[in-house]
Symmetry: C2
Subunit: 323 residues, 2 copies
Amino acid sequence: MHIDASQILSGNTLSISRLLTKIENREAEAESVLDTLYIHTGNAHIIGITGPSGSGKSTLVNRLGSELVKGSGKRLGIIAIDPTSPFSGGAILGDRIRMRDLTLQEDIFIRSMATRGALGGLARAADEAVQVLDAAGFDPVMVETVGAGQAEVDIARLAHTVVVVEAPGMGDDIQAVKAGILEIADVLVLNKNDHPAADAAVQSLKAMLEMGAELKEASGDKKSIWQTPLIRTNAISGEGVGLLAEAIHAHRDYLQKSGERETRARKRVRENFERLAREEVFAEWQKNTGQEAYNQAVDAISRRELSPREAIKALMKSRRSEP
Amino acid sequence: MHIDASQILSGNTLSISRLLTKIENREAEAESVLDTLYIHTGNAHIIGITGPSGSGKSTLVNRLGSELVKGSGKRLGIIAIDPTSPFSGGAILGDRIRMRDLTLQEDIFIRSMATRGALGGLARAADEAVQVLDAAGFDPVMVETVGAGQAEVDIARLAHTVVVVEAPGMGDDIQAVKAGILEIADVLVLNKNDHPAADAAVQSLKAMLEMGAELKEASGDKKSIWQTPLIRTNAISGEGVGLLAEAIHAHRDYLQKSGERETRARKRVRENFERLAREEVFAEWQKNTGQEAYNQAVDAISRRELSPREAIKALMKSRRSEP
């Protein structure tokens, strides 16, 4: 069914849902609608939320969502990026369980997204989904990534405000991963505040925050005056969720006043543009190279006649010498 | 310092270490050495090991490594892929702690690798490191990925034999992630066998394995007759590690006899080739486009004058119309 950009701009949720499905399925129609919508983007405050599985992130996002827009008259968008099975490719759990709490409220639009296969497909879908909700007038737009792999972190860190959620008692060798994630946190959350190990976790997170601040200073990043706060929450009881919403609002105001919002927005544009350019340029190259020549190259590499790089050079050369 | 391919082929570990560092740093010299080494690859049995943080994977890999080559006269290579901080970019923990156990044995070469930034850089470095150890005569070569993000899974699943390590009591919302990871497992491990929740975890993993087998059957994949075994281990005491090594050897033999080794090797070649082609083609395009035109495009997108896709099309068109 044809989707009209004007339906998206007027906030028609049925049209929005359909467009997001077309984005997931990489249908060509999505592209032209996105092109039309693009000039209407750039208004929403984009909040990235990431952290390891088991941190209670999803429950927290549900609570936080309501809190963020409470009484403001604003409409909230949530994009939850689901890990996809490399084989069966389906979205898991997600919507049904979560929508119970949130979709009773009319001003919240929530969508779980999954993508099929391709590396980078997840990041592209996330970016395009944010564009859709942004153009449709949702503000803020939260992007939640499940898991703590590099791809998930890459998605979250392109937000205006990055919230990292941790929980006590998740094992010691997670520390190494944390160090990297903490560096991108604008707001750090320790959820499951009632856990017996919560105090110990707070100590260790504080130590890491200080280490991170020193690293930033040493690397000459003195421009940033934002001090990442550590907020303790209990997503089940709701304790601390109000404080978390305040911290996010404070960071939004900081970005605006310091001019850093512009810097981040530009970084987001640049990285998303580069990712898209990589895809499009490769797709065109592959089309021009032709399936047969491409398969022959794979054969030659498999037989160890050519190294992968030598095969690519040969393919590039043969294309250039064509009329 | 110049690296000679013949030093790698003779198994000189100092040269191997230096080459791996050049691969991490993306130095041009590494490329020509890799091209020369390539015809000597394709012999090692490549074992991918993945699973969530906190599963005791690293300890298990150390134990398993010794067990796999015990009395065989073979030399074992281990590449441990470390998550990298997006900012400070350093490798973490890794070598020093782990080498204590293993490097006393001469026939084991272990290396933690990290890469700086770029999406896909991790997978490329892992593939090239495997090529180096393969050409240097190490067999088997284990590739351990820390974490359970899509990028880590993508690296592990290109191995001949994929080992997925789980542990009891890691939280319930990890289940969703598991479903995807389990589908790529040739051998499934429940580590921390002495944990109070171990029996319950075994039941849930068995249920998932059965579900996975049904899904495969439903999708018409009747060719595969390998039944993924579930091995219980305790990496600390060493319990079950012998059984795990046997299961890996059994899978290697199965691959050989069924002809599936060839299929997997080809899939590995194809995916690695495509990833490299994407990089090289984009790098050439970017070079030809020029920094100025590229930056102007980013500016136009930031000002919402053009959508990212429109900007790419314009850049491609202007290149084509050049003499």
